[in-house]
C-alpha cells in the first residue's frame, strides 16, 4: 500500500503501467494461453481420487449373470419396436410388470418453434415408460435413475440391458434407494418431459401428463446408450445443459469400476495414454481437454443425462462404442459394471458433494480443478483491467495536470464537465446495440413464416438466415448511431464509450466464466484482443476485418471447424458451412426446448458488447 500512498512512486507506477501497457497486455495474453495449454500437461494435473467415503472403502461384488438374456430381451424389444413403428409402450409395461416393478407411463407432446432438420421432427408426441423398483423397507425418500432412450434406429441393447438389470436388481435385498428404470422416447424431449413431470415444473412450455409414481428425491442418474451386442470401450459423457458438470466422484466411480472389471474406458472418445512426456502424448491430452472445453462451451446437453443437472441430480451418460479393436466386452460385463456402480451409489448416505463440480479432464484419470484453470482466464481478464486503468489514468492524469492543486471535488466536477457531451454519445450506442441484440433474439422465430412465404427456403433455413441477416445488419450500426447524435464523435466520447465497453466486457466475461468456464474462456480469447486494441485511430479496413474475424459469429464458425478437427473428422468448407448453419439452429432449439442459456447470452449480451467496439472503430 505504501507504493500507492506515496504520490511520487505512484506516479512512477502509473507511468510505468501507461508506458508499458501494451507489452504487459501482450505478455498477459500469451501467459493466459500458455497457462491454459499447460493444463493438459500431465505433471501439472492431479490424479483423480474418490472423495466420497461411502463409495470409497465399501466393497461390493458384481454378480450380474444374465447378459445374454438381456440381449435377447433387447432383440425382442427391437422386434416390437419395428412392429409398432415407435415405442412399444404396451410391451414395455407388461415386461416391466413381469419383472416385479411398479410401472407407470407418461405421455407428452411438444411443438417445436421450428422444424428440427437434424432429427426430422416438428410436432413431437411420445410416451415415457418407467418402472420403479421399490427398495425394501425404504420410505420412498431417495431414488436412483437408470435410463435408456428409445431412439428409432438403435439403442435396443441398452433397453434390453436395462430390463435385464431390472430383473436382477429386483431379486436383491440390499437396496436402500428406489431405482427408477426409465425408457424415454424422443431422447431429450422425452427426458425433459419426464423430469419436468417428476418435479412438477414447467420451464419450457411442454405438455405432459402428470406422473403417477415417484420415488422421492433423485440422488444420481445414469443414461445408457448401447447399439451393439459387444463393445470395445465405454465412453463417459459428462457435459450437461449450460456447461454444468456432475460431481467428479461420478466420473471417478465409473473409472474405478472400469479399472476393476477391466473394461476399456474413454472420455471424449479418447483413450488414455501413458506417454505424457512425448509430444504426441501431450497433444492427445490437449485434444481431449479441448474437446471437453468445446462441448462445455456449447452449453448443450451431450447426452440424456444433461437435463438432470438442473435439478441438482448428478448424472452421466455411458455410451458403448464398438470399433475395430480386437478385445471385445460383452453385455454381462457391462451389466456387472452398472451393477457395481449402482450398488455403490446405493450406499451413498448423502448426495454426491465431496468432490469437485468445476473441473476439466485431459484424460479420465486426471483432472484440472477450478483453482488451476481459473488463472488462465484471470490472465486474460487482467488485460481488460489494465486497459481500463490505461484509459482512466490517461484521462485522469490529463485532468489532474490541468487542475493541479485543486480539491478532488473540483476534479470530479471538471471531469464530469468534460465528459458531459460523452454521456449521450455513450448511451445511444449502448441502447441501439442492445436493441439490435433483442432483434437478434426475437426476430428469427417471429419472422420465419414471413420468410418462408417470400423466399424459397424451409423454416429452419429461414430462422438461421434471419439470424445471420440481423447479425450482419447490426454492422451498419455506427452509421445509424451517428444520426441520433448531434455532431461528430469527440475524442472524449469514444474514450468514455470504450471505458464503459471494456468494463462491460470484463463483468460479462467474469460472470460467464464462473458459470461456464469454457464459454467464458473462448469468448475471452477472441473478445479481449478486440477490446484491447480497438480505437478510432487505427487503419479502418484492416481493423474492421480483424474485428469481424474475432466477432462471436466467426468464433462459432471457427469452433465448428476446430471441433471437427479435434474429433478427427475434418470437413470441407462447404460441409463446414452447412454444419455451421445447423449448429445455429440447434443452439436456438436448445434454448427453446431445454432452456439452454447460450443463445440468449450471445444475442442479448455478448453481441451488443462486441457492437460497442465496432462502434468505437467507426467513431469518426
Amino acid at each position: 500500500m505504501g507504493l500507492l500512498s506515496d504520490p511520487n512512486r505512484r506516479r512512477a507506477l502509473i507511468s510505468l503501467l501507461t508506458r508499458l501497457n501494451t507489452p504487459i497486455c501482450l505478455v498477459c495474453y500469451m501467459a493466459g494461453v500458455a497457462w491454459f495449454m499447460g493444463l493438459a500437461f500431465e505433471p501439472f494435473t492431479l490424479r483423480t481420487y474418490m472423495s466420497e467415503n461411502a463409495m470409497g472403502s465399501t466393497m461390493v461384488e458384481e454378480r450380474f449373470p444374465a447378459g445374454e438374456r438381456a440381449l435377447a430381451t433387447g432383440r425382442e424389444f427391437a422386434a416390437h419396436k419395428k412392429k409398432v413403428g415407435g415405442m412399444p409402450v404396451d410391451w414395455l409395461v407388461k415386461t416391466m410388470q413381469a419383472r416385479g416393478l411398479e410401472v407407470f407411463t407418461q405421455s407428452f407432446s411438444r411443438t417445436l418453434p421450428f422444424p428440427d432438420e437434424n432429427k426430422e421432427r416438428y410436432m413431437v408426441k411420445g410416451t415415457n415408460v418407467y418402472g420403479i423398483l421399490r427398495a425394501p423397507r425404504a420410505p420412498r425418500t431417495e431414488a436412483l435413475v437408470l435410463s435408456a432412450p428409445c431412439s428409432p434406429g438403435d439403442n435396443n441393447q441398452a433397453v434390453g440391458l436395462l430390463l435385464g438389470l431390472a430383473q436382477y436388481f429386483r431379486n436383491q435385498i440390499y437396496w436402500a434407494k428406489d431405482i427408477i428404470f426409465l425408457v424415454n422416447e424422443h431422447d431429450l424431449i422425452g427426458m425433459q418431459a419426464w423430469l419436468e413431470g417428476y418435479h412438477h415444473t414447467n420451464t419450457t412450455g411442454m405438455d405432459w401428463s402428470p406422473l403417477q409414481g415417484r420415488g422421492g428425491s433423485i440422488q444420481a442418474a445414469l443414461s445408457l446408450e448401447l447399439s451393439s451386442d459387444v463393445i470395445t470401450s465405454l465412453d463417459l459423457v459428462l457435459e450437461g445443459l449450460n456447461g454444468q458438470l456432475p460431481n467428479l466422484d461420478l466420473a471417478n466411480l465409473f473409472y474405478a469400476f472400469c479399472q476393476k472389471i477391466g473394461v476399456l474406458c474413454t472420455i471424449q472418445g479418447k483413450l488414455q495414454r501413458n506417454d505424457w512426456d512425448s509430444v504426441s502424448g501431450y497433444s492427445h491430452a490437449v485434444q481431449t481437454m479441448m474437446l471437453m472445453v468445446m462441448k462445455q462451451a456449447s452449453g448443450r446437453p451431450w447426452g440424456d443425462h444433461g437435463l438432470f443437472l438442473r435439478y441438482h441430480i448428478e448424472a452421466a451418460t455411458i455410451k458403448g462404442i464398438n470399433s475395430f479393436r480386437q478385445y471385445k466386452t460383452d453385455a454381462t460385463t457391462i451389466g456387472r459394471l452398472l451393477e457395481g456402480m449402482y450398488r455403490k451409489l446405493n450406499n451413498l448416505l448423502e448426495r454426491l458433494h465431496q468432490s469437485y463440480f468445476f473441473y476439466l479432464m485431459p484424460s479420465l484419470s486426471h483432472f484440472v480443478s477450478i483453482g488451476y484453470y481459473m488463472p488462465a482466464f484471470g490472465l486474460l481478464t487482467v488485460i481488460l483491467l489494465l486497459r481500463e486503468t490505461h484509459i482512466f489514468t490517461g484521462r485522469y492524469l490529463s485532468i489532474y495536470s490541468a487542475c493541479i492543486g485543486n480539491s478532488p471535488l473540483l476534479i470530479k466536477y471538471v471531469s464530469s464537465q468534460q465528459s458531459s457531451p460523452g454521456v449521450l454519445s455513450v448511451l445511444t450506442p449502448l441502447v441501439i446495440s442492445h436493441l439490435t441484440g433483442v432483434a437478434l433474439y426475437t426476430l428469427p422465430i417471429r419472422f420465419q413464416e414471413m420468410a418462408v412465404e417470400h423466399f424459397p427456403v424451409s423454416e429452419t433455413e429461414a430462422v438461421v438466415l434471419t439470424a445471420i441477416a440481423v447479425y450482419t445488419a447490426g454492422l451498419a450500426l455506427p452509421h445509424n448511431t451517428h444520426r441520433f447524435l448531434s455532431g461528430e464523435g469527440t475524442e472524449q466520447g469514444w474514450r468514455v464509450l470504450k471505458l464503459v465497453a471494456v468494463l462491460y466486457l470484463a463483468v460479462l466475461l467474469g460472470c460467464t466464466a464462473l458459470i461456464n468456464f469454457s464459454l467464458g474462456f473462448i469468448l475471452a480469447l477472441t473478445l479481449v484482443p478486440v477490446a484491447a486494441f480497438v480505437t478510432p485511430h487505427i487503419p479502418k479496413v484492416l481493423s474492421a476485418f480483424i474485428l469481424v474475424i474475432l466477432s462471436p459469429a466467426c468464433t462459432l464458425l471457427f469452433s465448428v471447424f476446430f471441433f471437427q478437427e479435434l474429433q478427427e473428422m475434418p470437413v470441407s468448407f462447404q460441409d463446414g458451412w452447412l454444419l455451421y448453419l445447423s449448429v445455429i439452429s440447434q443452439g436456438i432449439l436448445d434454448h427453446f426446448l431445454y432452456g439452454s442459456l447460450v443463445y440468449p447470452l450471445i444475442a442479448l449480451l455478448v453481441y451488443p458488447c462486441w457492437l460497442l467496439f465496432w462502434n468505437i472503430l467507426f467513431w469518426k
Partner: protein, 660 residues
C-alpha cells in the same frame, strides 16, 4: 375461522368418534355346520354356511368340538364391548380367576402381487386402576415397565409405532394397522396433568430408554397438538386437545434393537418367562417363536407398535380395564425370497413352525384371509381347516380360515403346524383402495419449493370428507397464502382449516384441513415454501442428505366396500337389500403419505475458511488499491524551509508582512 369451526364441529365429532373402530367394526363368527350360530347371522351368511355344509359333511363331528371353543374364547378383532365379556375357560381351575388376560393372534393375508402380509396382535387386558394414587405393585401379565410409565406420567392413552418401509397402498390394499415410516408417538394425558409439555418431554425420554429408540429427539420443534385428527381410541371423556401430543421421527431406523425390547413386553416372548417346568429350548412359546429378527427384517415392510388404552370391562361399562395391544406387521417379498416359486409357508416366512400356544394365553389363533379364494382356485392352503370365520375388516366382508393353537388337533400328527400357501394362478385383480395419498416436493433450486399432496378418492359415486394433517418443520417456511386445494381442476374449499404457524426453532407448522373428496377424483393440495438458511451449528452431521418432513396423515370415514356393490341383490333376500345403507356403511381409515426429503441450502463445510481468506485478500488488495487511487486527494508538497527562514517568517508575520 371460528365460524367454520363451530359449523363443522358436528362432522368432526362423528368422524373422530368412529375412529375408535380403527381396525374393525365388528366381527361375527360362523362355523360350518353350526345352524344355531348361523341363524343369528346375516342372511348372506346363511347361504354361505349352507354351501359349506354341503361341501364338508364328513368333518361335522370334529367341527362341533371346535365350535365350543370358538364360542367360548373372545375375539380380539371384535369391538371393545364384546371383548370384555369373555369367560376365561382356558385358565386352569386351580388358579383363582385372575384379573388379567392375554390373547394372541396372527393374521396372514396373501396379496395379489404374490407378496404376503402377516400381522401379529398380542393383547393383554388388565382390570386395574393405575390412577387415583393407589400404587400398583403386583404385575403378572402386564409389563411392569409400561405400567409404571402409565401411572407416573398420568397417561390416558399411548400409541407408539416403529416402522421401517412404506406401506404400498396401491399394491397391498389397506393395512390392518396403518403407521408412518419411522417412529410415531401420540399420547393423551389425563386431565389432571398440569404441565403437559414437561411430562411429555420426560415421557419421551423414558420411552426412548424402554424401546431403545431415538425418541429423545422429540422436542417442541417436532411436536404438535392436532385439533381433530387424533381422537382417543379408548373410553375417554377428554377431547380437549391440550392433553394430546403428537410427534413423528421420519428418520428413525428400526432394527433388532427395537424388536428385542418390544418382544420382552410379551408374556411368552423371551426367556424371562416364569414357567420353570418348561425345558430350556422352548422358553419361547406360542406365536412369539415366529418373531425371529433375521427373517422379520428380510422383508419389504416392517412395523411394530404398542397401543395402550383404557377399555370397558363389560357392556355396561361399569368398570374399566387397561388394554395393551402389541402389534407387528410384516410384508414378505416374493421376488427377494421366492426363488421363482410362488408359495409361502410359515417356515419360509419365519424359519420356524408353530408347535404350541402360549400357555398363558386365553386364546391363540392363526387366521388366513381366504376371501379372494373361496373355491381354492387362487391358492391352495395346506393343511386345510374346517373352521371359518367372517369379519368385516375395513369395510369389507372377509372370510378367514382359523387355526386354533390351543387345540392339539391343529398340529396334527407331526406336532407342528407349518401352514403352506401355494399359488395356483397369477391372475387376480385387487380392488383399488378407495383412499390413498401421495406427496412430493416440486420445483428445483435451493430457494423455494412446493409441497404437493395428492388424495385419491377411487369410489365410483360417493364423495367423502378427509381430514388432512400436515406437520412441517419450521425450516421450511410455508407461504400459507399460496395454499390451494383443487379437485377435478376446480377449487375445492376446505370446510375446516386449522393452521398454526411455526416459530423459528420452537415449533413446527401445523395444518389441518377437512376436505370433501368428490367421487372418482384426485384432490391436490399445494403450498409453497421457502427453505430457511440454518445457523451453522444447526446442520446435522450429514447436511447433504437432506432434511425430513414427516408424513401427512389422512383420516377419513370411507364408504364401505360392502355398501359399494351396486348389484347387491345377489345372494341376498330381497327384504334386506332395498336401502343401500347398512350397518357398516362407512369405516374409519387412516392413510399416511410418504415422508419427504428436502435439501436445504448447505454451505460447503470444508471450504469456508479458504474462501473467506481468499475473498478477503482479493478485496483488500484489489479493491483497496483501486479505491485508494480514486479517492486520495492530491497536494503539492511544500519544500521544507530552513530554520533561519522560519524564524524570519514568524517575525514577518508579527510585523504583518507576507511571509517569504
Amino acid at each position: 375461522m371460528a365460524a367454520y369451526r363451530y359449523g363443522y364441529s358436528a362432522v368432526l365429532f362423528i368422524l373422530c368418534g368412529l375412529s375408535v373402530f380403527l381396525v374393525t367394526n365388528g366381527q361375527e363368527t360362523i362355523l360350518t355346520g353350526d345352524d344355531g350360530a348361523a341363524a343369528v347371522d346375516s342372511p348372506q351368511t346363511v347361504t354361505e354356511t349352507a354351501e359349506q355344509t354341503a361341501e364338508q359333511p364328513a368333518v361335522e363331528e370334529r367341527q362341533w368340538e371346535v365350535t365350543e371353543v370358538e364360542e367360548a374364547s373372545p375375539d380380539e378383532a371384535a369391538a371393545d364391548k364384546q371383548d370384555a365379556s369373555a369367560p376365561e375357560t382356558l385358565v386352569p381351575p386351580s388358579v383363582p380367576r385372575p384379573k388379567d388376560d392375554f390373547q394372541e393372534e396372527l393374521v396372514i393375508r396373501p396379496l395379489h402381487s404374490g407378496d404376503i402380509y402377516a400381522s401379529f396382535q398380542f393383547r393383554t387386558l388388565w382390570e386395574t386402576d393405575f390412577m387415583r394414587g393407589n400404587k400398583v405393585s403386583h404385575y403378572r401379565l402386564f409389563p411392569k415397565s409400561l405400567g409404571q410409565v402409565i401411572s407416573k406420567f398420568s397417561v390416558r392413552e399411548l400409541h407408539i409405532s416403529f416402522t421401517q418401509g412404506y406401506w404400498r397402498t396401491m399394491q397391498w390394499g389397506q393395512p390392518f394397522l396403518p403407521a408412518p415410516p419411522g417412529a410415531e408417538l401420540w399420547v393423551w394425558f389425563q386431565d389432571s396433568v398440569t404441565d403437559v409439555d414437561g411430562t411429555w418431554k420426560e415421557l419421551t425420554n423414558v420411552l426412548s430408554g424402554i424401546f431403545c429408540a431415538s425418541l429423545n429427539f422429540i422436542d417442541s420443534t417436532n411436536t404438535v397438538q392436532p385439533s381433530a385428527s387424533f381422537k382417543p381410541l379408548g373410553i375417554s371423556n377428554v377431547t380437549d386437545h391440550r392433553f394430546l401430543r403428537y410427534a413423528t421421527l421420519p428418520r428413525e431406523i428400526v432394527c433388532t434393537e427395537n424388536l428385542t425390547p418390544w418382544k420382552k413386553l410379551l408374556p411368552c416372548g423371551t426367556k424371562s418367562l416364569q414357567l420353570t417346568e418348561l425345558p430350556l429350548f422352548s422358553l419361547q412359546a406360542g406365536l412369539a417363536v415366529l418373531l425371529k429378527s433375521e427373517k422379520l427384517f428380510h422383508s419389504s415392510f416392517h412395523s411394530q407398535a404398542v397401543h395402550i388404552r383404557p377399555v370397558c370391562e363389560d357392556w355396561q361399562c361399569k368398570t374399566t380395564s387397561w388394554e395393551l395391544r402389541q402389534t407387528l406387521s410384516v410384508v414378505f417379498d416374493l421376488h427377494t425370497s421366492g426363488q421363482g416359486k410362488r408359495e409361502w409357508s410359515l417356515f419360509k416366512m419365519f424359519s420356524r413352525t408353530l408347535t404350541d400356544a402360549c400357555p398363558l394365553a386365553s386364546s391363540s389363533k392363526v387366521y388366513i384371509d381366504i376371501t379372494d379364494n373361496p373355491e381354492g382356485e387362487q391358492f391352495e392352503l395346506i393343511p386345510a381347516t374346517p373352521l371359518l370365520s367372517q369379519a368385516v375388516v375395513l369395510g369389507d366382508r372377509r372370510t378367514f380360515s382359523v387355526y386354533d393353537l390351543t387345540q392339539q388337533i391343529t398340529f396334527g400328527a407331526v406336532r407342528s403346524l407349518n401352514l403352506l400357501i401355494r399359488w395356483k394362478s397369477t391372475e387376480g385383480d385387487m380392488l383399488r383402495p378407495l383412499l390413498h395419498g401421495e406427496r412430493y416436493v416440486a420445483g428445483y433450486g435451493l430457494q423455494t419449493g412446493e409441497i404437493h399432496t395428492l388424495m385419491y378418492n377411487n369410489h365410483p359415486y360417493r364423495s367423502f370428507p378427509v381430514l388432512l394433517l400436515d406437520s412441517v418443520p419450521w425450516y421450511l417456511r410455508l407461504y400459507i397464502h399460496t395454499l390451494t386445494v383443487t379437485s377435478k381442476a376446480k377449487d375445492n374449499k376446505p370446510s375446516y382449516i386449522h393452521y398454526q404457524p411455526s416459530k423459528d426453532r420452537v415449533r413446527p407448522h401445523l395444518l389441518e384441513m377437512l376436505v370433501q373428496l368428490p367421487p372418482n377424483s384426485v384432490t391436490e393440495v399445494t403450498v409453497q415454501f421457502e427453505r430457511a438458511l440454518l445457523k451453522w451449528t444447526e446442520y446435522t452431521p450429514d447436511p447433504n442428505h437432506g432434511f425430513y418432513v414427516g408424513s401427512s396423515v389422512l383420516s377419513s370415514l370411507v364408504p364401505s366396500i360392502v355398501a359399494m356393490d351396486t348389484n347387491s341383490t345377489q345372494e341376498r333376500p330381497l327384504f334386506s337389500s332395498f336401502f343401500p345403507c347398512k350397518e357398516e356403511s362407512s369405516y374409519f381409515v387412516r392413510v399416511y403419505t410418504e415422508p419427504l426429503l428436502v435439501n436445504l441450502p448447505t454451505p460447503d463445510f470444508s471450504m469456508p475458511y479458504n474462501v473467506i481468506c481468499l475473498t478477503c485478500t482479493v478485496v483488500a488488495v484489489g479493491y483497496g488499491s483501486l479505491y485508494n487511487l480514486l479517492t486520495r486527494s492530491f497536494q503539492i508538497e511544500e519544500p521544507s524551509l530552513g530554520l533561519a527562514k522560519r524564524i524570519a517568517n514568524i517575525i514577518r508575520k508579527m510585523r504583518g508582512v507576507p511571509p517569504l
